[in-house]
């Protein structure tokens, strides 16, 4: 490969500027009380304040939205693990065909865009099981589905690195039940993958807008979109917080993911 190092640096430099500038602009807007039109080199460092975001944190609407989002994130992660870990452990004990079936079914959510999923969900359950649409926890199964391609991939990598058959046979022959085997033998060995899958589920839930918005549930992203008008600076500040949190989650899942592979 004979591309000059200079042009490689140039490409990365331009794209880095493109990645950084919007985040910088959002940060400045959120924390500096000077309109862009009055901004000059003389006052770049003046009037920085965190008051707007503190106001946002104090707002009861924000607190409700944040606690809903956090609850949903935890519920989604727990449901995902409870559903996938036993299923995938057994798939690893079974034939390659079962594994293949689970693998293909896990990427199906990619095919159904969130908007189509939520429209079908609302239509299918409006008359049969309206509680799923009224209750905020009705979002959990949809989030489990949305996150499935990512969470399945992560757990699959983790399971592939273990000798499941030996672990299960050892545990079973010592008299442990299936439930005990999965909870106390498989799960502890899968700590890193379970953590990674949970972080990915958190990221999906904290960023998801389409489904919550169509089912009229006031999660954090919905709060951001509505509160923009009343306290734009604080709301943009919350936007930054959300970006930072999901950056940390993705970074952690990258890190744990690497540990699994090595």
């Amino acid at each position: 490969m004979k591309i000059s190092r200079l042009s490689a640096w140039f490409t990365i430099g331009i794209v880095a500027v493109f990645y950084v500038v919007p985040m910088l602009a959002m940060t400045r807007f959120a924390f500096q009380r000077i309109p862009v039109i009055k901004l000059s080199w003389g006052n770049v460092f003046q009037k920085w304040t965190i008051q707007p975001i503190i106001d946002s944190f104090g707002s009861p609407d924000f607190q409700r939205a944040a606690s809903l989002s956090i609850t949903l994130a935890i519920a989604t992660a727990l449901t995902t693990i409870a559903l996938l870990l036993p299923t995938m452990t057994f798939a690893h004990l079974g034939s390659p065909r079962t594994r293949r079936f689970i693998e293909i079914s896990a990427v199906l959510p990619f095919v159904v865009p969130a908007i189509a999923l939520v429209v079908g969900f609302a239509g299918a359950f409006r008359d049969t099981l309206p509680i799923l649409i009224r209750s905020s926890f009705g979002l959990v199964p949809l989030y489990v589905i949305t996150a499935l391609p990512f969470t399945h991939r992560t757990l699959e990598n983790g399971l592939a690195a273990l000798d499941i058959r030996t672990l299960v046979n050892a545990s079973r022959s010592l008299g442990a039940s299936w439930w005990r085997t999965i909870a106390f033998v498989i799960a502890p060995n899968m700590r890193a993958s379970i953590a990674t899958a949970s972080f990915l589920a958190f990221t999906v839930v904290l960023g998801e807008f389409t489904i919550a918005s169509l089912l009229l549930k006031n999660t954090l992203p919905l709060y951001l979109s509505y509160a923009q008008g009343s306290n734009p600076q604080g709301t943009f500040g919350l936007g930054i917080v959300l970006v930072v949190i999901s950056t940390v989650f993705v970074a952690m899942s990258n890190r744990f993911g690497k540990k699994v592979r090595s």
């Binding site: 490969m1 591309i3 190092r5 490689a8 640096w9 490409t11 990365i12 794209v15 493109f18 990645y19 500038v21 919007p22 910088l24 602009a25 959002m26 400045r28 959120a30 309109p35 862009v36 559903l83 996938l84 299923t87 057994f90 004990l93 079974g94 689970i102 079914s105 199906l108 990619f110 095919v111 159904v112 865009p113 969130a114 908007i115 189509a116 999923l117 429209v119 079908g120 609302a122 239509g123 299918a124 199964p141 489990v144 589905i145 990221t203 960023g207 807008f209 389409t210 918005s213 169509l214 992203p221 951001l224 979109s225 943009f236 936007g239 970006v243 999901s246 950056t247 993705v250 970074a251």
Partner: protein
């Protein structure tokens, strides 16, 4: 322990997962298609009306947006991937770029819209800085909520997604192939055109399809940028579900959703097949 009972237990164990998918993915999906094909009292099938009538423009708009943002994103993302692999000797660079790409590829929704409003909106920081150097993008007619504005915002997650797809593919190009080509007298351009490019083609095409599907399904960012007035297909579907005003026409909303599933289905299947082909060189 009888073998057959053991097997039965194992099959039962898959029941929760299969039932979960059937109830929360399969049934909603079926419901969309069933309603989309239900003619009701209307003259023509909703599936046909969805792509011929007033919504044709929405599909054209959504697809144009997806293809253009995917094309630009694929080219730039590929260049970044090549640059990263080229600069592999620089410590930490690869991890930084690939790591941030993973973050940015997952970025979207409301915070991303905020960031671009703050940067490239009418009163944006970047808009202002560009004006300082006599580049007046607002004067040129650029608006962040317009077509090209949305393309710019989408590039924020399209470029890194392509980088993520392509870096492993580039790693699969063995040094020995470049050396073999060189020792046989090939120029660098010839090596790229005749050796590297054909090997990379499935990954490039697959990545492109993934980017198209990615943009096509996106909703929140565009919605937040233009406060619901956008012509995107997903935003149109929203109006159908929320407003019962156009009675007897709700099936049209399902037909729009069904077409979205069909289009992303084709794109994602194409991506999967091409990526499997790309894997062949990585053994």
């Amino acid at each position: 322990m009888a073998g057959s009972s053991k097997r039965r237990v194992r099959h039962l164990v898959f029941l929760p997962y299969v039932a979960f998918l059937a109830i929360f993915l399969g049934w909603p999906g079926l419901y969309v298609f069933r309603s989309a094909f239900a003619r009701g009292t209307a003259e023509s099938s909703p599936m046909i009306e969805a792509v011929t009538g007033q919504f044709r423009g929405s599909f054209v708009f959504s697809l144009q947006l997806s293809f253009i943002s995917a094309s630009i994103g694929a080219v730039i993302g590929a260049l970044v991937a090549i640059a990263v692999v080229r600069l592999d000797t620089v410590g930490g660079l690869r991890n930084t770029v690939v790591g941030y790409s993973a973050v940015a590829a997952n970025m979207g929704g409301i915070p991303l819209a905020f960031a671009f409003l703050a940067a490239f909106g009418m009163q944006g920081l970047a808009t202002r800085l560009l004006r300082e150097i006599n580049v007046d993008i607002i004067g040129w007619g650029f608006r962040i909520s317009d077509f090209w504005g949305i393309v710019l915002v989408y590039l924020y997650f399209q470029i890194p997604l392509m980088t993520l797809v392509l870096v492993p593919a580039l790693d699969g190009l063995r040094r020995t192939w470049a050396e073999a080509a060189q020792s046989l007298g090939a120029s660098s351009a010839q090596y790229w055109r005749l050796v590297a490019l054909p090997i990379l083609t499935p990954a490039l095409l697959g990545g492109f399809l993934l980017l198209v599907a990615n943009a096509f399904a996106a909703y929140a960012t565009a919605f937040a940028l233009s406060s619901g007035g956008s012509r995107l297909v997903p935003v149109q579907i929203r109006f159908f579900l929320q407003g019962d005003t156009i009675t007897g026409k709700t099936n049209l909303g399902y037909a729009l959703a069904a077409w979205m599933v069909i289009i992303t289905g084709v794109l994602v299947t194409g991506f999967q097949l091409l990526m499997r082909r790309a894997e062949r060189w990585r053994r």
